[in-house]
């Protein structure tokens, strides 16, 4: 119940964040712009609308997760609002989980708005809405949950600016980590071990990317879906556990 109170309060705080509305506005603008672009596209414009729409939701979701997420904990410490919370009979990890859940609720609300925008565009442009579109959206949201957990982890021990840089770096490396594995095959044994260790430690965010499947109508079965969900949720849980340990040991000066 206390986690829920903190989550609701965080959600309320996020709703008063102007940045959120700016990002949301641009996301909708970009999704809508695919209508214009499709008019100057030769051939199959369905692919363009789907690709641009899903990519916009992904990109702006990540931007919201990072720029709102990094402030979650560091802002509470900087503004000293955390003093009155930690002095109450609330374990620190509950506070952290509450903040995380609050941001996930915020992201969910934002994603819903963007998805409604996309569905309207798809409807208007007569693009068939398949179950794959929804699977893709679900995994985009899962990726946002992982990125948020990364942002929360960094913000438990470093400043907001550094957290943003680190989280963006993890996001980018996370999408390129497949290349990292390929690259390791060409190295000697020791270097291979190091590169592989990095590969397995960082999240493989390409696993959450179903845009290719949607555009090329490739099936993504329920078993694959369940496995990817399990991977994402386990990874986020592991990051939050790490964040809780760091947060528990911290002095609030």
């Amino acid at each position: 119940m206390r986690i829920l109170s903190i989550a609701v309060n965080t959600f309320r705080e996020n709703l008063r964040e102007k940045l959120l509305y700016n990002l949301l506005f641009f996301a909708l603008l970009m999704i809508g712009s695919s209508i214009l672009l499709s008019r100057i596209t030769l051939g199959d414009y369905h692919r363009l609308i789907l690709d641009l729409g899903l990519a916009s939701i992904n990109l702006f979701g990540v931007l919201i997760a990072i720029f709102v997420g990094i402030g979650l904990v560091s802002k509470e410490v900087d503004r000293k609002t955390i003093y009155t919370i930690v002095s109450k009979p609330i374990p620190r990890y509950e506070f952290l989980l509450g903040k995380y859940c609050g941001l996930v609720i915020t992201l969910f609300a934002n994603t819903i708005v963007m998805v409604v925008g996309l569905l309207i565009v798809l409807q208007v442009m007569d693009v068939p809405i398949t179950s794959l579109v929804f699977k893709s959206l679900a995994l985009i949201f899962l990726e946002l949950m992982v990125i948020t957990a990364v942002a929360v982890l960094f913000s438990t021990f470093t400043s907001a600016t550094l957290s943003a840089i680190f989280t963006l770096a993890v996001y980018m490396i996370g999408h390129l980590s497949g290349d990292l594995k390929e690259f390791s095959k060409k190295l000697d044994e020791v270097s291979q071990m190091v590169v592989n260790a990095i590969y397995y430690t960082l999240p493989n965010l390409e696993r959450f990317n179903l845009k290719g499947h949607v555009i090329h109508h490739l099936d993504f079965g329920m078993a694959d879906m369940a496995l990817t969900l399990a991977y994402g949720l386990t990874y986020a849980a592991f990051l939050l556990l790490l964040a809780s340990i760091v947060f528990q040991r911290r002095d609030f000066q």
């Binding site: 000293k80 003093y83 009155t84 002095s87 109450k88 009979p89 609330i90 002095d251």
Partner: protein, 320 residues
Amino acid sequence: MEHSDSILKTAGLRKTFKVGFWGRSVTALEGLDLDVRQGEVFGFLGPNGAGKTTTIKMLMGLIYPTSGQAWLFGRPIGDQESKARLGFLPESPYFYDYLTGLEFLQFYGHLFGLRGVALGKRIDELLELVGMSHARHLQLRKFSKGMLQRVGIAQALINDPELVVLDEPMSGLDPVGRKEIRDLILRLKESGKTIFFSSHILHDAELLCDRVAIILKGRQVACGRVSELIDEGVAHSVEVVIDGLGPEELARLRQMADRVIVQGSQVLVVLPSRQQVGSVLELIRGARATLVSLTPQKGSLEDLFIREVKNKQPELREAV
């Protein structure tokens, strides 16, 4: 434990911080021993940077002690059960400024599992107590500093705590605001709560506290009842104002007094102790002069404070 009614106790509490690139160690608090008993108002005094906030943060579980121990309600600090019996107002409190007074108190109520009608009733009582009923639907960002301090105290009382810890509750407030907070502290004491507050405003502490501890640069230099601390070693000076003294008497007076200030026909004499009063009265009678007033001067916490700085910690003089 020495006293069964001990609410807050520390033993050799110590905190060092690492600062700078090389992690140089700086001691913020050096072996603090406190014992706050049930129902008393305890003042924790010292200049800025003495280690007051550091101590309070350790007691509240915000930072961890480097060594030493502390107990609240007989349990080691950080214990969730003792936190449930505690109320805390941080120094210059910053709160969620997008909330209204009512939402703010609801949020803290929820953290204690209070809900519905019981919480509504409690919030009404508290807003009434701190005189903030008019601001229940106003966002905290529109509050003045005094209003924030008062709603902050309401927040600290939401769980009806047995011990209330206030960090510099009077700092930054105007005289009216300070008086309101003083009255509030006295009302809390009347309702049986134990109050532990830090301050560098000695006058307030003198008016409120049963006992005080004074710390300087992380070291405790005095602890005890205010009256005992003030009396201890302080010579009680006496101020006498006399009208119509001749130059000869004035010369005799100068030998007895610490200070003699002549203003027109009146003379203000400061005697070092009460023992000289008799001879001064005789002198007045002999000279047929008029005694205008005679005021025994009480020692103040400020005198004690400055004496402690001068005597026990000569190297710390620049700190005050």
